[in-house]
Amino acid sequence: MTHKTCECEEKARKMLSAEAKEIVEAVGAGKEMAIPILQEIQKRHGYLPLDLLKAVCRHADFSEAELYGVATFYSQFRFKPRGKHPIKVCIGTACHVGGAAAVLDALCDELKTEVGGTTADGKYSIETVACIGCCSLAPVMMVGDQAVGNLDPLQLKKALKKVSE
């Protein structure tokens, strides 16, 4: 049976393979490089595209199963793209006691999405994080890499506008 691939498919496959090779060459191919490789992929794409994970394994010292096992173990890694402004709401102890749950609810209402979800316009996605270490400003969230503290569930719109301009 002959399987005919069109030119663009072939081109995409080659590009994927070239990117995988580039990543492995830049980071390293050893088994201990599994996490740094995943981090590099996520830095480039914002998430882990499965095709790229498979392609990477052809150039590195670990199997697909091993890499997937590592990727699913650590909460930093995602298999779905995030919004342009990823929001991480801190639900650590100080934030919990300071009312993080109310902030999270209000944020989901405000953006009409849920934890783990992305807004319809792709602008924001909401995740939770166990603690970002800005406990004295609780409740806190990170928008992109910017921390916003002293959140008030009623003033979230203002806080969002300020950081995502």
Binding site: M33, V70, T93, A94, A130, C131, G133, C135, G149
Partner: protein, 601 residues
């Protein structure tokens, strides 16, 4: 303190730690930078950065150093205050008294916050620019390394043993003994490989001591590691840092590069023949990786699952080589100990807990921040004197120490001394240094549920008791907070908690029940109340509370406008009412009301 900057120049130093940045310090830094450029005063005024000075409650912090070396610290600086500092102090020569934080004047918040502290680990935090090795050296950095390299390895270990330093990650194992074990081991293979790992995977929610140390003075940690390499004969070092701390990672990388350039890292360090290099490994968001065997699995590129001990890492650690693992704070103590001698360190603290401990003080307290106190101080001193007591005026109920592995110490035991053994007696643990203050509005059952939710999520799944046991504990706690608890549940919680402790391999599982056990021990009546009276006295558990409008209501309609379910009805200028069937208890009306007319029952 620093002699790097020419003496006739004035310096404006902005505190750019993570919490400072979150409070708006970056904005203030940009403001000064713009002003200095616009006013063309760069030849006489230098803008510099530092990191967390520990006074999180007064962020953003700005310090002005005048030509004669005198330093003036300003707190809660916004753009208006920044402009005044520039005009009145920097250009006019007269400090802006209203915003000054004076540590020397008695009866000021700053004095109360600082006077009981003893800074060893945080000696340079908030003082030097953490991105400049020259400032670090001017402040005494790497002089301990030079001293240590002139000593025999055994002498260095002896000094650490004498100091009585115990592991600051929480378990409190004597650091000198750990070093001794690694030093005695010849190392693996012909290369005699041994490793040093700095555990910077600070995962406890509510703890930020290590982050601040790494952001504020990365060189002290690096110096501590190099001294350890000399003492133990290790050749390679790793710093395993939490991924949620991007600034700490960046500053570490800058510091390592600078240390290499100065010859403190690499081959034949300072001509001593010592070879040592350090790599930074970023974690990927797994709490269990703070456990040493899981951490090593993670460095090796695997799923971070703990392994059986023995063999201990000192015998067989990373890739089967002898490995010394210490926490960030432990390493940061080392240069001070080498410089001042073990006896000087041992002179601070109690009989079995020596030196100082850094705490991340947060929660319902007036002055939250990073505090370093001598061991032996009471919890009351930390909470009431340094922290200034409750920030709401409500009575304090407990402090939570040690995060998810620790427990709640009730206000009646606030005279407990900060000492590994004394704290353990209460059922909590010293832990890595999280200290969260709780008042009457904190529900202890909810706190236990919160921590169990955390540990349940973070359990790696290897041990049945941890994997399933924490899930069952969480189910019971959730049931109680939802008003479906049975009185037998209390005994079941207790029995299950003890089984999980016995049946788990690593510290995560063994200590996961601590929040349940301590709240049961000290706040059993709250559990009983939730179960029998269906009442949450703190007003936290949604299923057990009800928001109602009292006759203080002026009919301003503000509450109705923020209600997401339109549960609030009422005419303008008339008392409103909440439809309990539609109310989802989000609490937004309660927060919104300007007249305290909405109450929680």
């Amino acid at each position: 303190m620093t002699n790097v900057i020419p003496e006739d120049k004035q310096r404006i130093i902005v505190g750019l730690g993570s919490c400072g940045i979150a409070a708006g310090a970056k904005h203030i830094h940009e403001f000064f930078s713009r002003q200095i450029e616009e006013r063309a005063i760069a030849s006489s005024v230098e803008l510099d950065i530092t990191s967390c000075a520990g006074m999180c409650y007064a962020e953003p912090l700005v310090e002005v150093v005048d030509g004669d070396g005198s330093r003036t610290l300003y707190g809660s600086v916004d753009e208006q205050v920044a402009l005044r500092i520039l005009q009145e102090h920097v250009l006019g020569g007269k400090p802006v008294d209203a915003a000054v934080l004076d540590a020397h004047a008695a009866d000021t918040d700053t004095h109360r916050f600082l006077s009981r502290q003893k800074k060893i680990v945080l000696r340079n935090c908030g003082v030097i620019n953490p991105e400049s090795i020259d400032e670090s050296i001017a402040a005494g950095g790497y002089s301990a390394l030079k001293k240590a390299l002139a000593m025999k390895p055994a002498e260095v270990i002896e000094a650490v043993l004498t100091s009585g330093l115990r592991g600051r990650g929480g378990a409190g194992f004597p650091t000198g003994r750990k070093w001794q074990l690694v030093a005695q081991n010849p190392g693996k293979g012909e290369a005699k490989t041994k490793y040093i790992v700095c555990n910077a995977d600070e995962g406890d929610p509510g703890a930020f001591m290590d982050r601040s140390t790494l952001e504020g003075d990365p060189h002290s940690v690096i110096e501590g590691m190099i001294i350890c390499a000399h003492a133990t004969g290790a050749t390679d070092g790793y710093i395993y840092c939490r991924a949620e701390y991007p600034l700490a990672v960046r500053r570490l990388q800058i510091a390592i590069k600078q240390a290499k350039e100065k010859g403190f890292l690499g081959k034949d360090i300072l001509g001593s023949g010592l070879n040592f290099k350090i790599k930074v490994k970023e974690g990927a968001g797994a709490f269990v990786c703070g456990e040493e065997t899981a951490l090593m699995q993670s460095i090796e590129g695997r799923r971070g699952m703990p392994t059986k001990r023995p063999p201990y890492p000192a015998v067989s650690g990373l890739w089967g080589c002898p490995t010394n693992i210490n926490n960030v704070e432990t390493f940061a103590n080392i240069p001070w100990i080498v410089m001042h001698g073990g006896e000087a360190y041992a002179a601070i603290g109690t009989e079995k807990s020596k030196g100082t401990k850094v705490f991340a003080l947060a929660g319902k307290v007036k002055r939250g921040g990073l505090v370093e106190v001598p061991m032996g101080i009471t919890i009351r001193d930390i909470v009431e004197q340094i922290g200034g007591g409750s920030n709401t005026g409500r009575a304090l109920k407990a402090v939570q120490m040690g995060g998810p592995s620790g427990g709640c110490i009730p206000a009646s035991l606030f005279d407990t001394r900060v000492d590994y053994d004394e704290v353990t007696k209460t059922g909590a643990i010293m832990g890595s240094g999280g200290m969260l203050v709780m008042d009457e509005t904190t529900c202890m059952v909810d706190v236990a549920r919160f921590f169990l939710n955390f540990t349940q999520n973070e359990s790696c799944g290897k041990c049945t008791f941890c994997r399933i046991g924490t899930k069952r504990l969480l189910e019971i706690l959730t049931r109680i907070t939802q008003g479906h608890g049975k009185i037998e549940d209390i005994d079941e919680l207790d029995a299950l908690a003890r089984s999980i402790n016995k049946g788990s391999l690593c510290g995560l599982g063994q200590t996961a029940p601590n929040p349940v056990l301590t709240t049961l021990k000290y706040f059993r009546e709250e559990y009983v109340e939730h179960i029998e009276k269906k009442k949450c006295r703190a007003g936290v558990c949604k299923a057990l509370i009800k928001y109602t409008v009292t006759d203080k209501c002026t009919g301003c309609t503000a509450c109705a406008r923020v209600c997401p379910t339109q549960a609030i009805t009422g005419q303008r200028k008339q008392r409103h009412a909440i439809n309990q069937a539609a109310c989802i208890k989000c609490g937004r009306c309660y927060l919104r009301c300007n007249f305290n007319a909405i109450v929680i029952e």
